[in-house]
């Protein structure tokens, strides 16, 4: 390579790096898409089955209203947790994260009590699919909530280990995204059941 060619080479514009976002966050969003498809399939199945008749009118347990309120509040505390993380306010961060975690557990307990309420009104898992679907929706959502709670516990551990701060927000932001999604998912399922029971 001659000197002139070398000079020419140096002046080449390096091609631009394509637009991209954090791959881990992106992966989380794709997981959310696949979970959404799972529930979209189940709620579509519900509609198809319902249109065929022979359907049982299942009254939603009143406790489901309370659990909905709990999970809505937990979304708020999660949001506050992210804000305190951004401000490096660690004591508040710990409070909000643990509060979210407790509210998540409270949600699960309320859902379980909601099931008992269903049983007392003679709606069982085994029987007319109208009832079975309610158990499948809430049960499968509950399973996702369990994974969300594990995620929260990991974040809480990371906070204790001082690995979450304003310069390192990825993990707590991802946890918040997932948690808000689970909140929205439950509100969707509950509204869907209220409108189509």
């Amino acid at each position: 390579m001659t000197g002139q060619e070398q000079l020419l080479m140096q002046n080449y514009q390096a091609p631009r790096r394509p637009l991209s976002m954090n791959p881990r966050k992106f992966i989380l969003w794709l997981f959310i898409v696949s979970i959404s498809m799972l529930f979209a399939a189940l709620t579509s199945a519900y509609m198809v089955r319902k249109s065929e008749g022979n359907w049982l009118n299942v009254e939603m347990p009143t406790l489901f209203w309370i659990s909905s309120a709990i999970i809505l509040i937990s979304s708020l505390t999660m949001h506050l947790a992210v804000r305190s993380a951004g401000k490096d306010d660690f004591s508040k961060l710990k409070t909000w994260i643990s509060l979210t975690l407790v509210l998540g557990l409270g949600f699960l307990i309320t859902q379980y009590m909601g099931w008992s309420e269903l049983v007392t009104s003679n709606v069982y898992f085994v029987g007319n699919p109208a009832g079975s679907f309610v158990y499948v929706f809430s049960g499968l959502h509950g399973l996702h909530i369990v994974s969300g709670i594990v995620f929260l516990a990991i974040i809480f551990y990371l906070v204790l280990a001082q690995k979450v701060h304003s310069k390192n927000m990825n993990s707590v932001q991802m946890c918040a995204t997932f948690w808000h999604f689970l909140d929205g998912l439950w509100l969707y399922l509950f509204t869907f059941l209220l409108l189509n029971h």
Binding site: L8, Q10, N11, Y12, Q13, A14, P15, R16, R17, P18, S20, M21, N22, P23, R24, F26, I27, L30, F31, V33, S34, I35, M37, L38, A40, A41, L42, A45, V48, R49, E52, N54, W55, L56, F125, V126, G127, N128, P129, A130, S132, V136, L140
Partner: protein
Amino acid sequence: MEANTEQAVAHAHDVHHDHEHHEGNFITTYVFSQDHKMIARQFLITGLLWALIGGGLSIVFRLQLGFPEMDMSFLEPFFGKWIVDGKMDPEFYLAAVTMHGTIMVFFLLTAGLSGTFSNLLIPLQIGARDMASPFLNMLSYWAFFLSSVFMFISLFLETGPASGGWVIYPPLSALPQAMSGSGLGMTLWLIAMALFIASVLLGGINYISTVINMRTRGMSFGRMPLTIWAFFITAIIALLSFPVLFAAALLLIFDRSFGTSFFLSDIYIGGEALQHVGGSPLLFQHLFWFLGHPEVYIIILPALGLASEVIATNSRKPIFGYKAMIGSMLAIALLSFIVWAHHMFVTGMNPFLGSVFMLLTLIIAIPSAVKAFNYITTLWKGNIVFTPGMLFAIGLVSLFISGGVTGIILGNSALDIQLHDTYYVVAHFHLVMGASAFFGMMAGVYHWFPKLFGRMLDERLGYIHFWMTFIGVYLVFFPMHYLGISGFPRRYYSFTNFDAFQGYVELNEFISLAAIMAFIGQLIFGFNFFYSMFRGRLAPKNPWRSNTIEWTTERFPGHGNWKGEIPAVYRWPYDYSKPGAAEDFIPQTTPLSETPESNLPEEQEQVDREKGAPADGEAINL
């Protein structure tokens, strides 16, 4: 982060001279590897072993169909009690058909094809060190492996593996009383498929994230090879459709094991009513085919992508209609989600709904034809190099057209009344997605074997393999159209019991013999594959004189793919036989400003940008 990886790679370079695997022991290098290339090899070899089992099963039931009077005692060492007095057990026939379908559709043509080549080519062709999450990628393979273990065990159960067809329609699959395969065999099938879905989702999520976020400098979407476009679109389809299969499988599990009634209603066994009330078996079919139809595109799109690359390279011509290829793949992906009910025309669905699904189904012919014509016009007047990979790619185009044409006939809801569940359907889908996808996969194996194992496959054996397979496939499936039109039904263990079908004994014999020939061809490939992996001729760096950047890596690329910096990309991957150029190919890594003799007038703008730009560092941060 970047710096660390580069240091690691530089380190790898230093030690490489000693020919030692310094990076890890046997376990982390060959077993729980996070290197996308090793995971690709794992997917490929597992898939090919499954192909041997799936193909072997098809030969067994072809023997039954072609030679119903045959003494099959010689199969006893393999199948034990399933061969009774030299005759095949009818339930085993159904199990063999079911497992052939399951293995080929999911384990070979989804995991073995998409899993192998998405893993191998996505990082190598877009210029990334590895996948977005190598760990999830490793989990994806091991979920597949575990799924394989469950499915494999189910083959050895005394009650047999799942036998209700690969579509596992309830009530047949839901009630253990229905057939022996619906007992433990079906349970293991469902467990295996749940794991398989997890594997596909973990893999697919990684592919999408990698393609979008980890391309090298200059690799815009408009410069991505069509292989990557195909894998990308496939992964999106998989992400949207496999959760739906999971939903269907979950509800089926509840019906089988917990006594719910999602798919079961009013069933009497021995005069006694079962407790299941209020379910709908059709609901299962809707859920299943909402996955099932996109699944056939999950199978064929990667094959078409591989064929695009192989055909363009070996025609020494740019691919014809690059954007049309992408557009038609997107159109196919979109349409794949709204045609599922054409599998259900004869289930008693509303005829108006049937005509809507028929219309949507026939529209798929348009993007498919665009692709077929683009392949042919790419070949037109090219300096074709007939490598074995190229022959398989051309074979794919031929099979895709022959099988696609009958799709237009089957897609008619009125004609389907006659053709449904006949061998016409078998002929159609085996040509258009079974054999074509297999040909695409083989094109990929022959073409990228040098990148997979650093060696070349033997060409002469490759040609023998191709011709035996190509002729075999047509001899098997072409006569089936005739069988189907005359009403010959699928899934019958013993057609000779029916007077109407007595006349088809010779034709069935012929098909079986052709199938055996094609199968022997695959054994030749198997030998070639495993022999060349260790003893094949060492591959040159760029054996096919190809433009894409995977050929800029070493013969045996380490984990991280490139020593030093990842090459940047300056042009699209199809600059073959560009007028004025010295060679008949210009790699993607060659800047336009280095090739003034072949630049087109509209490319001048980019040349100016390359020349008059600020120094590297600044430009990257733009």
